[in-house]
């Protein structure tokens, strides 16, 4: 029965997961957004300094907040602008096209679609997460039209001997002009006849529904279940799910950053830190809890050894040694708590934050940040650290009965094989 199910998954489910993760456009969007990650982490450092978790310190920092917000605006605040370039760049690269021309062109397209403020300035608010989804649309549009022209060979060709940097600039000329003309024309028509802008249309049909779904508890619950289902078949679950969800999670977090800077209440609980850190202490499945049980309570040699060997990896949120070593993969005994523990922790965290016991997360930290620091840093609230410790204890309790059963089974097997070895020796 179990084998048949596995076979079914390997044959039908695996290729779908593979296609999803390897789908060219999704992959380019993900890679493009991952490219902004270092900037977001740097921005987070300044964000913590300018609005620290300690009241008296925050009061002290107030006069400098304006100055300190410059690096934050230049990182988080430009998420959309940077993404349009890096997404077009990775998509063009995947096609083997001239990635630099595509990136440069898409930035121009992005600005064509962006309405200026009444004073004629570039609106900063549309450069950040508000501009992220239109950035995705425009980057893909730019590269696809560019590619269409290249395939049809409607580009200016230079004679042999002209340096590549020169002919490259000319290759982009015709498609570039057409792309900019189309975007400009569409935006103009929308504005003239419907009093709408491209930004507004993308927000209404793409951004708002996706964010409503992504920011809801149900959205998070479904994502968590899916990630752990994938892991229990030995597939890197978060990679697969994030290939679709990452833009939404980043966008939500950036809005929290903006609210934090403005001194307003944070709008969202779900976002990048929630999905990368909060239910994944020790890696997917709250694996640190299980590793602690292995070290602390295991009687079988296998689990004790595995626990001791992987406790440090687990502390830094790397769960593969446990997932494949215990193993959790294809193991009916550990499968259930592996899904239940992160799910319960996710729900506890969500309600602790929505009821105001703990601050909502707005800071992006590297996913290898160990607990409880990750809990304190992401929320900018010391109670975040306390909640994270409680979460670990809850996860230990969920794992405990299943762990006991499995440990007992392994111990019996070990003893049986030892007694066999002993009888054959004597």
């Amino acid at each position: 029965m179990v084998n048949r199910f596995n076979e079914f998954m390997e044959r039908y489910f695996m290729p779908v997961a593979g296609k999803l993760a390897e789908q060219r456009h999704l992959k380019s969007v993900r890679d493009g957004i991952i490219a902004t990650m270092p900037l977001l982490i740097i921005g987070s450092v300044f964000l913590i300094i300018s609005s620290p978790p300690i009241e008296s310190w925050a009061e002290f920092m107030k006069p400098y907040a304006q100055t300190l917000s410059i690096p934050v605006n230049a990182t988080f605040g430009l998420l959309g602008l940077i993404a349009v370039f890096s997404i077009a760049y990775s998509l063009a690269k995947s096609y083997g096209m001239d990635e630099l021309s595509a990136g440069v062109l898409s930035v121009a397209t992005f600005f064509v679609a962006t309405p200026l403020t009444e004073e004629g300035n570039i609106p900063l608010n549309l450069m950040g997460s508000e501009g992220l989804f239109i950035a995705i649309v425009l980057a893909i549009f730019t590269v696809e039209v560019f590619r269409f022209f290249e395939n049809k060979n409607v580009v200016i060709r230079m004679p042999e001997g002209v340096p590549p940097s020169v002919w490259r600039a000319f290759t982009a000329l015709i498609p570039g002009a057409v792309i900019i003309f189309i975007v400009w024309g569409v935006d103009l028509l929308l504005r003239h006849f419907f009093d709408l802008s491209l930004h507004g249309v993308v927000a209404a049909i793409l951004r708002q529904p996706l964010e409503a779904m992504g920011s809801s508890l149900w959205g998070a619950v479904i994502a968590i279940i899916l990630i752990h289902l994938l892991w229990s078949f030995g597939i890197h679950g978060i990679s697969v799910v994030a290939s679709v969800m990452a833009p939404i999670w980043y966008s939500l977090t950036e809005q929290n950053v903006a609210a934090q800077q403005a001194g307003e209440e944070l709008p969202y609980i779900i976002g990048q830190p929630f999905m990368a850190i909060w239910w994944a202490v020790g890696g997917s499945g709250m694996a640190l809890a299980l590793t602690i049980l292995f070290v602390w309570r295991a009687r079988s040699r296998h689990l004790k050894g595995l626990g001791r060997g992987s406790i440090w990896a687990s502390f830094f949120n790397i769960s593969e040694p446990i997932v494949f070593g215990a193993p959790i993969v294809m193991n009916p005994l550990l499968f259930l708590p592996f899904i239940l523990a992160p799910l319960t922790v996710g729900i506890i965290t969500y309600f602790s934050m929505s009821l105001g016991f703990v601050g909502k997360p707005y800071v992006i930290v590297p996913w290898t940040t160990p607990p409880p620091f990750s809990g304190i840093l992401t929320t900018g609230d010391w109670r975040g650290g306390v909640l994270m410790m409680i979460n670990i204890i809850v996860a230990i309790c969920i794992y405990y009965p299943f762990f006991r059963l499995y440990d007992k089974k392994l111990l019996e097997e070990e003893q049986a094989s030892e007694s066999v070895a002993a009888t054959t020796e004597s």
Partner: protein
């Protein structure tokens, strides 16, 4: 000879790489063993003699195998049990066997 292990980020396989290096030392083999992110496959294909994939990224098998075949580099997925047990000896055997 260079053996390259690829997984999602090159972190979890790096634990296995350490074990494999020890195993290679014991056998007095002259091999270079490295762990990298799967995103680097193009670069790694250029100078690796064998590529091994972490089982958690086997859903990308089709595309990765195609790339490796084009470069004529032998490729395989690490045996899941050996991966779980971080059995350096066994995975080293798997790599050496592939090269033959």
């Amino acid at each position: 000879m260079k053996i390259t292990l690829l997984c999602a980020l090159g972190m979890s396989t790096s634990l296995l790489v350490e074990r494999m290096k020890k195993a290679a030392n014991r056998r007095e083999l002259d091999v270079k063993i490295e762990a990298h992110s799967v995103e680097e496959i193009d670069r790694q294909l250029k100078d690796s003699d064998v590529i091994l994939l972490g089982p958690q990224i086997r859903y990308k098998k089709k595309e990765l195998y195609k790339k490796a075949e084009e470069e004529k580099v032998p490729i395989a997925i690490i045996d899941m049990q050996a991966y779980g047990a971080t059995d350096g000896e066994k995975v080293l055997d798997q790599a050496l066997h592939l090269k033959k």
